[in-house]
Symmetry: C2
Subunit: 510 residues, 2 copies
Amino acid sequence: MANELTPRATDYSQWYNDLILKGGLADYSAVRGCMVIKPYGYTLWENMKDVLDKMFKDTGHVNAYFKDVLDKMFKETGHVNAYFPLFVPKSFLEKEEGHAEGFAKECAVVTHYRLKTDPNNKGKLMVDPEAKLEEELIVRPTSEAIIWNAYKDWIQSYRDLPLLINQWANVVRWEMRTRLFLRTAEFLWQEGHTAHATSEEAIAEAEKMLHVYADFVENYMALPVIKGVKTPNERFAGALETYCIEALMQDGKALQAGTSHFLGQNFAKAFEVKYLTKENKQEYVWATSWGVSTRLIGALVMAHSDDQGLVLPPRIAPLQVVIVPIYKGPEQKALVDEKVSGIMADLKAAGISVKYDDSDNTRPGWKFAEYEMKGVPVRIAIGPKDIENGVVEVARRDEKTKSSVPAEGLSEHVKNLLEEIQQNLYNKARAFRDASITTVDSWDAFKSVLNEKGGFLSAHWDGTPETEEKIKEETKATIRCIPLNNTAEEGVCVYSGKPSKQRVLFALAY
Amino acid sequence: MANELTPRATDYSQWYNDLILKGGLADYSAVRGCMVIKPYGYTLWENMKDVLDKMFKDTGHVNAYFKDVLDKMFKETGHVNAYFPLFVPKSFLEKEEGHAEGFAKECAVVTHYRLKTDPNNKGKLMVDPEAKLEEELIVRPTSEAIIWNAYKDWIQSYRDLPLLINQWANVVRWEMRTRLFLRTAEFLWQEGHTAHATSEEAIAEAEKMLHVYADFVENYMALPVIKGVKTPNERFAGALETYCIEALMQDGKALQAGTSHFLGQNFAKAFEVKYLTKENKQEYVWATSWGVSTRLIGALVMAHSDDQGLVLPPRIAPLQVVIVPIYKGPEQKALVDEKVSGIMADLKAAGISVKYDDSDNTRPGWKFAEYEMKGVPVRIAIGPKDIENGVVEVARRDEKTKSSVPAEGLSEHVKNLLEEIQQNLYNKARAFRDASITTVDSWDAFKSVLNEKGGFLSAHWDGTPETEEKIKEETKATIRCIPLNNTAEEGVCVYSGKPSKQRVLFALAY
């Protein structure tokens, strides 16, 4: 099998692409910048969706049963899902100036609603010039405009607030340089859009959702994050504050894993969304929006995987355990089959997803490599000698170690092992991340650490967009975030030498 | 509350629109022909998705646990989900001629990828003429073209077949006349696309999925359907055979609730998808596609609801039971609260979704009307006198009857009642449907039954597209289907008087 990956040390970027393709997560498509998400990759997204959906609907209580979630929904606490149109009329985009500037430059524009057969070109179609739209439609790059136009009708009084709605959808941003999962012209995401009576409540909501994201990324994706706020330069177009979680990839580059925005009254004013207060006054409402996307799958791959293939955290892996039989001839096979059927039943009863790969057109060695490539966390091999000795061979994908384990009590062992792998992945990523935060106090140190070690640079910055811009021009490094609850510390800007009140985190980023 | 619906008898069409809006299922949007699916309506769609997804993944075993589903997925039986691009290059649409003709006339065309600020119009945006795409992109009206282009790379040998993939997605068809849920420019659906080694296998797949749809619509939506095939005129663009399920609405019009297509080798040939057989020969593969959409929500509403509001089948209702307290003063309230908390726990333990509406800003009568409008199948009212007598008042939405029921064993009672309501809705719809199939043997009878009674007309047809077309022109009636396993019966065409071998079903349709 042609499963060779380019080693990370040779070309990290090529390794990533190889892995996405050979791991069967996605494929290039004929449409520029778009990709096909293959079933294995889509299952990862479904698993993420499942967990996040429950977290949104029932904030904090991840394992709530569906019916409970609905109960909450009807109590009008929690977030509920809805679906808004794909198309944004051009005039809607114009209404919030910053928003328009941010998104107009990279959007897909629908101008016509019909094709016709080309009279000069047999079998070909052409745009029908008579089917031109009066107003162009933009394929949503994000849905603030279309959603706030609907909220105008939905919000009348304080009784209608807070309005907490989430949407799972596809969006399109016409990126010039694209990359599987990390940056594609079309991507899948969720976008929460909430409306509140007060500024404080909206800020609390934006912060709450940031914590939900951090919880998900750390505890399910096994990826430590730094919570912070963006500088004004890096804010979402139309936001007063952008909260973010920043993760670190194995090549020392940062990756923004999720954002939550406090939008102030910008969209309420643009779309005239007012509510009647308890005191009978008309006030503009306060807004937030927040989102994570299929980009998280790219982050997951980049954070944990190795030169043999994917390494997936058990809590969101599409498959947790694979069992491979080792045998010669049908008699031994029957013996193994019987043993495995008991093991399968035990594992399933313990809530573990497991596959028995007894296909006979490939050899065990081939299967081992295949499941390593797919990142299945635990592999069990079992043959007649193992059965005689009352053991099985258990291999863990994260450490690539094997051990002989008693067949008795195996499901308990595997359950604990999956948990251990989950923790181990997190701890490794955490240790790497922590070791990759370097305090720098001079411009020379900044440049040399950035080029030689990478990771996050904790440095003083004078707080001006000009300095931020110059640092970016000279080094490509951006301010990833100002950490939440940052320590106040007097110092001088690493670039300009001007006074600074705190350190911020710089990095090269995806 | 302004919850008055236009009665069905006055204006069925207006009743439907009122109900969609006042029941909180959807809202009009500012984008022509598109709608906003509100949380209550979206939950219905999520419930449908949930059930169908499991049926697709594990055909026939609806209640399979998620992990089992995944296990099946890895055994490469069952259907798996994936995601393909939103955009179809124009040249792809051209490749299958019939397909192109069917969809080119009603599609959204992306011609540009950027807006810019309009120099002559402060604050306005305009399409940037320099950002014209070399090849126009069509927003997918269906995904055969984009998916078969991907399958070309995925299918090499008989080992890759069958390929059974499903996609949940939004699609756009630029319909001239639109209607909430039933026909919108953008809608949500699932589309299955499968590839097979033989014609027989593909036909069996198309038929299997038709049965899955019928199973879902009858057993979850409580809506009886007739399974059949379409006439060549009414086939999906690009199909050799279109299977369909047809349902009947309360006004006597038919509604196509789902279709499954045998596509032959049309797409395999258009996209050059061949496989190596066991005998080492190159052959084109055989295809199917099948889909149901948010239109099902429209069917659900039209089939069961009444002049008081929605009537929802318990198996997919977002909320199954609502409890309303009847009390005067805080002491009585505390008494009721305590009793209700026990009832809630019991109902939830029985897997029933339940809400306690103890909001104090509306009166019980208002709440009763509200939950009738929302179609909650069972309402429980409880006050101090009920508690004294050890009973509660149980009202069922379908029959609008109330009865006093012992509080002891209530959850068992409610569980049975929900099942009874589910069956009752099906039986009522079934009786109505059966009474609405009329055998007609003359053109006069055809016209008078169609105009006065409506429903399905079982009539002889000479089998020609010309006659079909003329009947449509004169009466607007179409052939809904030729029922599966239709009885052979010699006769003469109701319109042309020419010989006919079987009766087919005509109706006016949505």
